[in-house]
Amino acid sequence: MRHWTLRLAQKLLLLAALTVIGGLLCATMVRFAPGFGVDERELDARLSRSSREAIRNEHQLGVGLLAYYRGYLFGLFHGDFGNSAFLERPVSELLKERAAFTLRSVSLGLIAAWLVASGLALFSIRFPHWLVDSSATAFTGLLIALPTAVVALLCVFLRLPVFVGIALVTLPKLFRYQHNILAQASAQPFVLAASARGVSRTGILFRHIVPVSWHPLAALLGVSASMAFGAAIPLEAFSDSPGVGQLAWQAALNRDLPLITSITLLVTLVTVALNLLAGAAQEQHP
């Protein structure tokens, strides 16, 4: 238990270090991007010198690099991500408004995808038949062959909620991975031994194959969250849903760097935290 607590503390420290490094990277991206500090208001001949100076100060142009980084990180740890250039509102305010929608869609999508993928994978292992195998392969193969944006358009056309789209995007990859893991476990000698002793196929599946397979499957949690967040961008953009994905898309189209870098940093932290949690859970119950 003490070892596990130590490992968890290490992971939390890693997350904190990642926040600092990520914050610095974001600040660098904003600071050195072409056009940083350029404000068309400065072209207005009616403005006095002091007004122009005020505009330049607004963009921290006179501030040294170290002071800029310090200011950015200080703001970051106080929940201040700067202002969105094209929406002209604080980034933290925009995120607060939209995070709930995306988190709900991603959570529901992931739950649906995991349930369906696990069900399909268990079914195809329990009832191994070429028809079941080829149907599942064809279905997931077709879904994998569709770009996420096309799945998003299908969802808009069929008036399906965003979470269904997220589930459809993550489901095929989850199914294939789970199926491979379960198939590998079912080829182990202890499965053959259990079968020889007369244990039923369902018994073998739930008492011998699933307990062995859950370890690598848990590692998939963080990766599937990363996939789901990525899928949220086109799905929310095409369905005009008020989520973080749509905000990120608008920010990228309008070259709003403070907004897009802050969103990327936050989503990265969420997915990395999920990965670390999955890793810690695996270590506690190896």
Partner: protein, 271 residues
């Protein structure tokens, strides 16, 4: 020949035809991808325009053919870049071990946890708004190549580690082979099958990612065609119902990705 062998052969054939169409685009069609036939916007298929024209009066068949060249030549280039990075880093981690291995694996795990699409659009947003279409193509695929290596790295690392622990590698080291001889006579030939498999896996992934990026207006820019940006505007469902041939780029894309799935080696075939 087994059913799988026949399917693979068929898929290789289809991919070969699509690839050749893209390479010899100038022979397949005599129009330019940017030529506008302003008297026939949204025109139906006819002898002059096999798949009709788009809303700007450009020949859709020509745009698909040139789009094939962009998508099917640059996605493998990006996959090659990602595979080379994964090969170098994975090989280094597997063969050197120690802190080099730990650092590279930690970096790969961290990169794997990154939401790729968010990072992609953040990097894309860094570029100026007035970049040329050619630069947008190169930037899109180079970014994909530079960010696509972590998924492949662990497999290369595992293979390199197995190689390091193998008897024949130990024997070659004991014989006093130089580092370059070890690299070119032992490491590269042994890692080649796995690197090839990873390359083939990456190509459809990059094709799909480019398609989504371009459909969102963040990938290949007009007037240069790619399968993704040819699908832009497909959210106008009434137009799609009236002109179903406008979905032809999607058909080509799906067929290509499905063919790639079938030609990929199954688990165990790369070992």
């Amino acid at each position: 020949m087994s059913l799988r062998g026949i399917t693979r052969g068929l898929c290789f054939g289809v991919l070969g035809i699509i690839f050749a169409t893209g390479v010899f685009a100038g022979v397949v069609t005599h129009y330019s991808y940017a030529t506008q036939f302003r008297e026939t916007p949204n025109g139906p298929p006819c002898a002059a325009h096999l798949l009709g024209t788009d809303s700007l009066g450009r020949d859709l068949f020509t745009r698909i053919v040139y789009g094939t060249r962009v998508s099917l030549l640059l996605a493998p280039a990006a996959a090659l870049l990602a595979t080379i990075i994964a090969g170098i880093l994975g090989g280094l981690a597997g063969l050197r071990g120690g802190w080099v291995e730990k650092t590279i694996l930690a970096a790969a795990d961290l990169s794997l946890a990154l939401p790729l699409f968010f990072v992609l659009i953040a990097l894309r947003a860094l570029l100026p708004l007035d970049i040329s279409p050619t630069f947008s193509v190169v930037a899109t695929f180079v970014t994909l190549g530079l960010l696509g290596w972590p998924a492949s790295l662990r497999m290369v690392w595992a293979a390199a580690r197995r190689l390091r622990d193998s008897d024949h590698f130990l024997f070659a080291t004991a014989l006093g082979y130089s580092k370059s001889r070890l690299l070119f006579r032992q490491v590269v030939p042994n890692l080649r099958p796995i690197l090839l498999a990873l390359f083939w896996i990456s190509v459809p992934l990059f094709i799909l990612t480019e398609a989504t990026l371009s459909m969102l207006g963040l990938g290949v820019m007009e007037p240069l065609p790619s399968w993704g940006n040819l699908l832009r505007g497909s959210e106008d469902f009434s137009l799609m119902f009236e002109n179903p041939w406008r979905l032809a780029p999607l058909g080509v894309l799906v067929v290509t990705v499905v063919c790639f799935q079938y030609i990929l080696p199954k688990t165990g075939e790369t070992a």
